[in-house]
């Protein structure tokens, strides 16, 4: 079982997540600049682009739309980073999390589900057709990915015979879950992207709908929504480390360093992988999710259950 971190970790957590989010966003900006190829050989100069964009949004006037419901929208927007940070509370750094409740895995999933409401409310708020389309797209996305996602979470918990994140990590002392639950791991990575509505699951904020749920937000509103999305990506990707990649377990290096390395590797994979794929449309993906992923994850869970019973 993991230790609970000292109280100051509560204060530190949002800042650490934000720093990680800025780094990942910077990495993504570099990849985007390399693809654009505007100034050959200098894509690295795009690394501070997310910070610049953040400053720009901070200095910008928020917008109001006619007959919109600004508070509904703002509650939605604010819930995105809040859900990310609350989910981050059960994320162990090394072997220590801010909190390690008995139902840590369920807590994580519940916070993720909060993001459903968040994006949908954000899309509903401005009374604008395209932003509403974006909000509803996320609901459709939720229907498509959530079922296989929950089965993947369940599989990891089943393997450790506990819903406590610390015990899931402890259960991987000898062998990472990713090795003997590859399907669950892959599905979790997919849903990490979907959860953070990050490409190829970025349809709710799709450019084809002028930014979808984010279409009408400017200034701080926009900053909170988009930054919250990066936080969600960092947290969900980071959660794959205690669930499937052995958490802080590893030779030579201290546990926190292993957590950091593994998280960075997963994030790098997800961010770079996005560039290989076009945006998935849920009316097509849902079929794949329900006819392929759900049976596969069920079989995976069955296999794990048999192993656990035999143990």
């Amino acid at each position: 079982m993991a230790d609970t971190a000292p109280v100051w970790a509560v204060v530190l957590l949002p800042f650490a997540l934000a720093a990680a989010a800025v780094l990942v966003a910077g990495f993504d900006a570099v990849l985007a600049a390399a693809a654009e190829g505007g100034r050959p050989g200098r894509p690295l100069r795009a690394a501070p682009a997310p910070l610049r964009a953040g400053l720009r949004l901070l200095g910008q006037q928020p917008r109001r739309t006619t007959a919109g419901d600004p508070w509904l929208g703002r509650i939605g927007i604010a819930l995105v980073p809040v859900a990310a940070v609350l989910a981050g509370a059960v994320l162990p750094w090394g072997f220590r999390a801010v909190t390690d409740p008995v139902v840590g895995v369920v807590w994580f999933n519940a916070m993720e589900a909060l993001a459903w409401a968040a994006v949908w409310l954000a899309g509903w708020g401005p009374n604008s057709a395209l932003s509403l389309v974006g909000g509803y797209r996320f609901l459709a996305q939720g229907l498509a990915y959530e079922l296989p996602h929950m089965l993947a979470l369940t599989t990891a918990a089943l393997g450790a015979e506990s819903l406590r994140v610390g015990e899931v990590v402890a259960g991987q002392r000898g062998l990472w879950f990713a090795v003997w639950m590859p399907v669950a791991f892959a599905v979790f990575l997919l849903s990490a992207l979907a959860m953070a509505f990050w490409g190829p699951f970025d349809h709710p904020l799709g450019r084809d709908a002028a930014g979808g749920a984010a279409a009408e937000y400017a200034g701080v509103d926009r900053l909170v929504l988009l930054a919250g999305r990066w936080l969600l990506l960092v947290v969900t990707a980071g959660f794959s480390v205690p669930l499937f990649l052995g958490g802080g377990h590893g030779p030579w290096l201290p546990a926190w360093a292993w957590t950091l390395l593994k998280t960075a590797a997963v994030l790098g994979l997800l961010v770079a992988g996005r560039r290989l794929l076009p945006t998935l449309r849920m009316e097509r993906y849902v079929e794949f999710a329900w006819t392929v992923l759900v049976p596969l994850t069920l079989l995976q869970a069955l296999a794990v259950a048999i192993v656990v019973l035999e143990r």
């Binding site: 007959a67 450019r207 794929l277």
Partner: protein, 405 residues
């Protein structure tokens, strides 16, 4: 104050720019896109995401109305600039930046329109979709206006339910959208029930950019085949870039745009030929893209012929994906011919084929594409509708020729 000022300047150094492209402004648009790429400035997808508005090309009478509406929707601090000639792009972009980085209090830039300060993002089809309700406000049977806006009306949907039905204009200011095109759609949920094409006619001063070599040859001027092939290749790459961007695949879209600019810059074929091949292979290899675009906007050859469609959309004889592949094929074919310096024969059978179809027909090829469009959109989900429009990519610049004969 010094620190705040410095931070503000850093934040505004790379402003996101919203492009409002008038029909007829293709050449200028290409220069603007290249200029933005050189500077590393993002292109905004909606007014809310933008700090600068760049009006590209010169519209005809009444064309300022929708750009003014867009301008009103931008949040402060904002800056506006206009460019009509490809040569003026750098000046216009510098102008945008100057106003944005000017010391605070120096005022907001550009032109202050009526109703300034009152954000008007009412139920509308995103950027440029102003006046969403004006046309339909008069005949609402079941509800009065709410906050000055009419409620959605109801109608039967495809499953026989009565659902809200919303009338929206799509365009003319959407990203990766044909300049000057407005689609008046009736949406139920995000399914297009009905679509009508409304066209902003281009100011007919110049020949349409993409068709220029063939039309000049038809007028008896001497145009090299290589130049025509170059233009054709670039036109297809432009269409490919838009379709990929609408499909949410920004990397290859950026690559197609970069290639397009290299082709138009007159770079020798061996510099970009291999890159074109790589782009084609990458797009073809993506099974996912095929899954996502297959079956959208199916336009079989016989039906296309009935609408008078010629060119790639007819040759594709299929859906959005087939049209994408046809563009890739034709772009590769054109690329092979860029070093051909024989003149274009004005009466040769194969030399009247512009990027979007035969240019010697009774109507410009894009008119046929526009005629076919509403039928293809009926019943399509919102994104599919965007993909269908992008896969036909009608060029409204061509309609100026029709107006002038």
């Amino acid at each position: 104050m010094g620190l705040r000022e410095a931070l503000r300047r850093i934040g505004t150094r790379h402003p996101a720019v919203l492009l409002a492209v008038h029909p007829g402004g293709t050449k200028t648009r290409l220069a603007v896109e290249a200029g933005l790429r050189r500077r590393g400035w993002p292109v905004a997808a909606s007014p809310a995401a933008a700090s600068g508005l760049l009006v590209v090309g010169s519209g005809g009478a009444g064309a300022g109305e929708w750009t003014d509406a867009l301008w009103r929707q931008l949040p402060y601090p904002k800056s506006r600039s206009a460019v009509t000639e490809a040569e003026g792009v750098e000046t216009a972009l510098d102008g945008l930046l100057r106003t944005l980085t000017a010391p605070a209090g120096a005022g907001v830039a550009g032109h202050v329109g009526p109703g300034e300060g009152e954000a008007r993002g009412r139920l509308r089809a995103g950027p440029g979709g102003h006046g969403a309700h004006d046309a339909h406000a008069a005949h609402l049977p079941h509800a009065g206006p709410v906050a000055g806006l009419p409620m959605a009306e109801r109608a039967d949907d495809r499953d026989g339910l009565r659902l809200d039905r919303l009338h929206l204009p799509l365009g003319p200011g959407l990203a990766d959208w044909p300049a000057g095109l407005v689609l008046d759609v009736a949406l139920q949920g995000d399914v297009v029930q009905h679509a009508e094409v409304r066209i902003t006619a281009p100011a007919a001063e110049e020949l349409p950019y993409w068709d220029e070599p063939w039309l000049r040859a038809a007028r008896g001027e001497e145009v090299g085949r290589g130049a025509a092939h170059r233009r054709c290749c670039a036109a297809h790459l432009d269409s490919i870039a838009r379709l990929l961007a609408v499909s949410g695949w920004p990397d290859p879209a950026a690559r197609a745009r970069r290639l397009r600019d290299a082709v138009l810059d007159g770079a020798p074929g061996q510099e970009w030929g291999a890159e074109l091949g790589r782009l084609g292979r990458r797009v073809r290899r993506s099974r996912l893209l095929r899954e996502l675009t297959a079956g959208l906007g199916a336009l079989p050859g016989a039906r296309a012929r009935r609408f008078g469609v010629t060119g790639p959309a007819l040759a594709a004889d299929g859906d959005a994906y087939d049209r994408l592949l046809t563009w890739l094929d034709e772009a590769a074919l054109c690329a092979a011919g860029v070093d051909d310096d024989r003149p274009l024969a004005p009466h040769g059978q194969h030399d009247k084929q512009g990027p979007r179809g035969r240019l010697d027909g009774p109507r410009p090829p894009s008119q046929a594409l526009l005629d076919a469009l509403p039928g293809l959109l009926r019943g399509a989900e919102f994104t599919s509708a965007r993909v269908i429009v992008a896969s036909l990519d009608p060029d409204l610049d061509e309609l100026a020729v029709a107006a002038h004969g």
